[in-house]
């Protein structure tokens, strides 16, 4: 057994728990998980069946944690997990799984397959079998502090740009602010308007907020590759920043996995409950709306529909707020089929969009989103995740669909009257 396979096996054995054991022993090979997975439904290839993506892990479980399995192994009757096999499984575990979680919701015996894929990735990455694209993100997180190589100067540049645009100052390192705003690399690089929107919204609501120079990055590459140690490093930085600035709430940006990492896995990664709240920006906007602190003017009149980011809705529990917010500013908001917690993945989450060799597969999987859109024929598509936005745009471009994609926070902010000093 090679050193890296050894490491992978060791890590996998550490993550095995009662739920995983229960799930492997409950599977009856009904194949329903495949019908819920867009990588299967749009390609027809059975190898993308979610439970099949876990086959080496299942055998390892059997051979290490069951009496009969161990006996079998001792007698040389079981098929060992090899380095080569893990290599073969890389495509299934990374390229063809976005951790969207639909499989976990449909399995009749209750298997939480996405939970298992997430754990399997721990072993795969420890064994060195993770895609180059995500490995790069991990390396940059370790060496630079951000998976996409973003440093503080880039954040400051954006801050200045936004201040010029709206005349609202962006606070940095303000102790005692109510909200600590996190950004994802994607926003810093691709969508500076997100920060502008936050500034406008907070200004109107009269809430104090701040960025943190030591912890502005919310994107968690550790989550995607399946490396809890790395995921912990990123979360710890955020926790340290939040505690240093004594904020009440940390706002997770329009990024799916950043929310999952901080809101649901964060406390478990650092081994203690948080002393502050964590909310997705959509949750914050909804709270402000309900409190009457988010006042908008005018409505969009064209037909709009909403794409639910998987990590926000199905995996995060934020399902109704985005709808309430849409109704605030959209006269003609229509739901696509399967909207809400059963919505279909954009095809690029979980690190998938960073995998160059997975692009063709993603484009095929996009046919599902395309069919949802074809059913409602919107003029524009709204969503609340920077990665979804880009993946959607690429898919739309590939299928020659002329459909602009916008961010929800940005859209809401556009309906807040300009009052700032710059004008």
């Amino acid at each position: 057994m090679s050193a890296s396979l050894d490491k992978g096996v060791r890590v996998l054995k550490e993550v095995m728990d009662a739920p995983i054991a229960s799930y492997f022993n409950s599977c009856v090979h009904c194949g329903l998980c495949a019908e819920a997975c867009l990588f299967y439904t749009e390609t027809g290839d059975p190898k993308y069946t979610p439970i099949h993506k876990l086959e080496p892990m299942r055998r390892l479980y059997e051979q290490e944690f069951t009496l009969l399995g161990r006996l079998s192994k001792m007698l040389g009757l079981s098929k060992p997990v090899t380095d080569e096999e893990l290599g073969e499984w890389q495509e299934l575990v990374y390229n063809s799984c976005t951790l969207c979680g639909r499989c976990s919701v449909v399995c009749p015996v209750g298997n939480d397959i996405v939970y298992m894929v997430r754990k399997f990735r721990e072993g795969m990455s420890a064994a060195g079998h993770a895609p180059e694209g995500i490995k790069g993100a991990v390396k940059r997180t370790v060496t630079i502090g951000s998976p996409m190589g973003i440093k503080l100067p880039a954040v400051k540049a954006q801050m200045k740009h936004v201040e010029a645009d709206h005349g609202i100052p962006i606070p940095l390192d303000q102790v005692g602010a109510e909200y600590l705003v996190m950004l994802s690399s994607m926003e810093i690089i691709n969508f500076p308007e997100y920060l502008a929107a936050i500034a406008k919204i907070m200004h109107q609501a009269g809430k104090t907020w701040t960025l943190c120079s030591e912890a502005f990055e919310a994107t968690n590459a550790g989550m995607q590759i399946g490396n809890s140690d790395l995921a912990r490093v990123i979360v710890s930085r955020i926790v340290a920043g939040a505690e240093k600035l004594k904020v009440k709430t940390v706002i997770s940006p329009e990024c799916g996995h950043a929310y999952t990492a901080l809101r649901w896995e964060g406390a478990n990664l650092i081994g203690r409950p948080f002393g502050f709240k964590v909310q997705h920006i959509v949750e914050v906007l909804e709270e402000l709306r309900v409190a009457g602190l988010l006042k908008t003017v005018g409505m969009e009149t064209d037909r709009l529909t909403f794409h639910d980011p998987c990590q926000l809705a199905r995996r995060g529990g934020v399902i109704q707020p985005q709808r309430n917010l849409m109704n605030m500013v959209a006269k003609d908001f229509v739901e696509m089929p399967d909207a809400g917690f059963m919505n279909w993945c954009c095809g690029g989450g979980g690190g998938a969009s960073a995998i160059e060799e997975g692009e063709a597969l993603r484009m095929e999987a996009f046919k599902r989103k395309k069919s949802q859109l074809d059913a409602v024929k919107p003029a524009r598509l709204v969503t609340a995740c920077a990665n979804c936005r880009i993946v959607l745009e690429e898919g739309l471009e590939h299928y020659q669909m002329n459909l602009p994609v916008i961010g929800l926070t940005e859209m809401i902010a556009e309906h807040i009257p300009d009052t700032a000093g710059g004008d």
Binding site: M16, D17, A18, P19, I20, A21, S22, Y23, N25, S26, C27, V28, H29, C30, G31, L32, A34, E35, A36, Y40, G44, P46, K47, T49, I51, H52, F65, T66, L67, S104, V105, V106, C107, P108, V109, G110, N111, D112, Y115, R263, W264, E265, G266, A267, N268, G271, R272, P273, F274, K277, V278, R314, R315, G316, G317, I319, P337, D338, F341, M342
Partner: protein, 219 residues
Amino acid sequence: MDPLQFLTWVRGTGLNLALSILVLGVLWRLIEIYGLGRKADLSAQRDVSGASGWHTIFRRSVPAPGMLKTSPVTYIGGYVFHVGLALVVFLFAPHIKLIQSLLGVSWPGLPSQMVDFVTVVAMAAMVLVLIDRITKPVKRFLSTFGDWFTWGLTFLPLLTGWMAVHHVLLPYTLMLALHILSVELLLIFLPFTKLFHAFTVFGSRWFNGTVNGHKGVPV
């Protein structure tokens, strides 16, 4: 061994053996699985009523939105044979008598013609589900020896029981003995095959529902 001796054996020693293996096997497997434990969740819970492990145990019996039309045979065939099996096992007078002799409890049964009908329907559903497993690409791809073997283990008691009641093919005593033997095989292999889902389905649904319920998503 003549048929009567065979029948006496399966009714006595065989049954004791099978039940012992079943009970010990179930206990051992439950400990092996659930003894692994799981870490507590330290993240703040999102309270949404109706979202919990207990809810999911029941709710997961209903197909998720949009799924029924993707695989009607899986759902409908599956339900029909599961319910059919339960009805036949627990509401056929001779079975109730057996349970009474073992556990001291009894309840009214269904008329035997109804049980007969249910048995035939359950068998038909099982055949349908088998055909589906052979013809559908995903199911065929996933299927292993265990799937075919457990299908046989589950089908044989229905078939042999029906044949015994109708005095088909073999003399009654022998048919009955074979029926009881087929049930004993089912019981012996239950803890060690996918049939164990009969027990783990509750744990799995509960874990799944708990994790999602913690986030406020009713699954």
